[in-house]
Amino acid sequence: MNIKILGSGCSNCVNLEKAAKLAASELGIDATFEKVTDYADIASYGIMRTPGLVVDEEVVLSGRVPTAAQVKELLAPLMS
């Protein structure tokens, strides 16, 4: 699973990354994490509010920082 965190470095993106990593490890998912900080790249995903969470090139969340539990809810159905 490829997980991308979209954001330019403000504390929201950092917290999203922490929540996502925690969720992935609790679900036992072996995921690669990437941070996307270039604005053109971020915008090309169609989100208008950072931070954004992209899983396997699909945007699953944008604009707020979820708890690890909420990220787990988002990731669980995407486990193949």
Binding site: S8, C10, N12, Y39, A40, I42, A43, S44, Y45, G46, I47, M48, R49, T50, E57, E58, V59, V60, L61, S62, G63, R64
Partner: protein, 350 residues
């Protein structure tokens, strides 16, 4: 998420409403008891003379700090919960296809109600422009959003009442609409970084507010209060400290002499000083409160506050990613002229 009302969810929702009600009552009680408490503590217990410089300065400091914290907490919470019903994505959908003129008015109004933090300024700008919304309309949104923000409204409401608050909101909207419209008319698209127009928006458009429960919204409200207070408390203390110093030490009508209605340059100077100043509303308003009490006219003060809040160096640096320097210069100048105009207008009619 199931919406069936089982006895559990009914009890939960009652608990939630009860919790909110209790919080509101406590808030009101603290707000009303604030002044008498500090009068008693500083005046009686510590024994300072409240009419003396030291006494009134100290009392002002604590009084204002508590009052402002309460106002901020209350209004940020309410505004965040209300805003959780609105999203930037929906704003973009609403603005799509609107001509200039109407588009500017709509964009400015939406800029006020849409949740928006300045770190999202660039993605939002790209998102609007790449989806075909005219540059001028996007500018109206970008100007209105930081200019009319809930922190400023909360503080104006608490310190000056509903009149100046409405004036501020009205003026902010008018400036955003006109400035955006003018920028649109000037056809400055060539001064936007080209990559913005070439950005392909792929993927599904996710509405960041879809599927939020009331619990989620309340949680967001509480978190936003915490996050904003954590960010601004140093500014707040400095602003209140300065305000307290002016309150206690500057002679009455001090500013009326130098910056009063007789001085035609007051508004201009206020705006010129305000533009490079980086502060948010929380730091500026206690200062403005004290200046007003010492005789500075409201128009000049509102202009000063708008100049400080609407245009900031960090935001300009961020926008440099998408706007060429000439466009940034136009953006700043048009907004500044609008603010100066508003300052003179309010001084004249008040």
């Amino acid at each position: 998420m199931s919406t069936a009302t089982t006895p559990d969810t009914r009890r939960h929702s009652l608990k939630r409403r009860g919790g909110l009600l209790i919080a509101a009552v406590i808030w009101w009680a603290l707000y009303l008891l604030n002044q008498p408490f500090w009068d008693w503590l500083v005046g009686r217990v510590v024994g300072l003379d409240l009419t003396s410089r030291l006494g009134s300065g100290v009392q002002f400091f604590f009084l204002d700090t508590v009052k402002i914290l309460l106002l901020l907490a209350g209004i940020i919470f309410i505004v965040t919960v209300l805003r959780s019903f609105m999203s930037v994505e929906r704003t973009r959908a609403l603005l799509g296809g609107k001509r200039e003129g109407i588009g500017n008015v709509l964009a400015a109004s939406l800029g006020v109600v849409t949740p928006f933090c300045s770190c999202s300024a660039v993605p939002a700008f790209i998102g609007f422009v790449a989806s075909g919304i005219p540059l001028g309309v996007t500018m109206s949104f970008l100007i209105a959003s930081p200019l009319v923000n809930e922190v400023a409204i909360a503080l104006l409401l608490g310190l000056f009442g509903i009149g100046p608050t409405l004036m501020y909101v009205g003026a902010g909207l008018v400036i955003a609409i006109l400035a955006g419209f003018i920028i649109g008319r000037l056809k400055l698209e060539r001064w936007v970084e080209p990559f913005v127009f070439e950005t392909k928006l792929r993927g599904k458009i996710i509405d960041s507010t879809a599927g939020l429960t009331w619990d989620d919204r309340i949680q967001m409200g509480i978190e936003e209060v915490g996050s904003i207070l954590r960010k601004i408390w140093p500014y707040l203390l400095v602003g209140i400290g300065l305000g307290a110093a002016i309150h206690g030490w500057a002679p009455q009508d001090f500013f009326a002499r130098y910056a009063g209605p007789d001085n035609p340059f007051a508004v201009l100077v206020a705006v010129v000083i305000g533009i490079p100043l980086y502060s948010n509303a929380a730091g500026i308003l206690p200062l403005i409160d004290a200046l007003y009490a010492k005789g500075m006219p409201m128009g000049t003060l509102l202009a000063f506050m708008m100049a400080t809040v609407a245009l900031s160096l960090p935001e300009m640096i961020l926008l440099r990613r998408v706007l060429k320097p000439k466009l940034i210069a136009v953006f700043v100048s048009v907004t500044a002229v609008g603010i100066v105009g508003v300052g003179y207008l309010f001084n004249a009619i008040l």
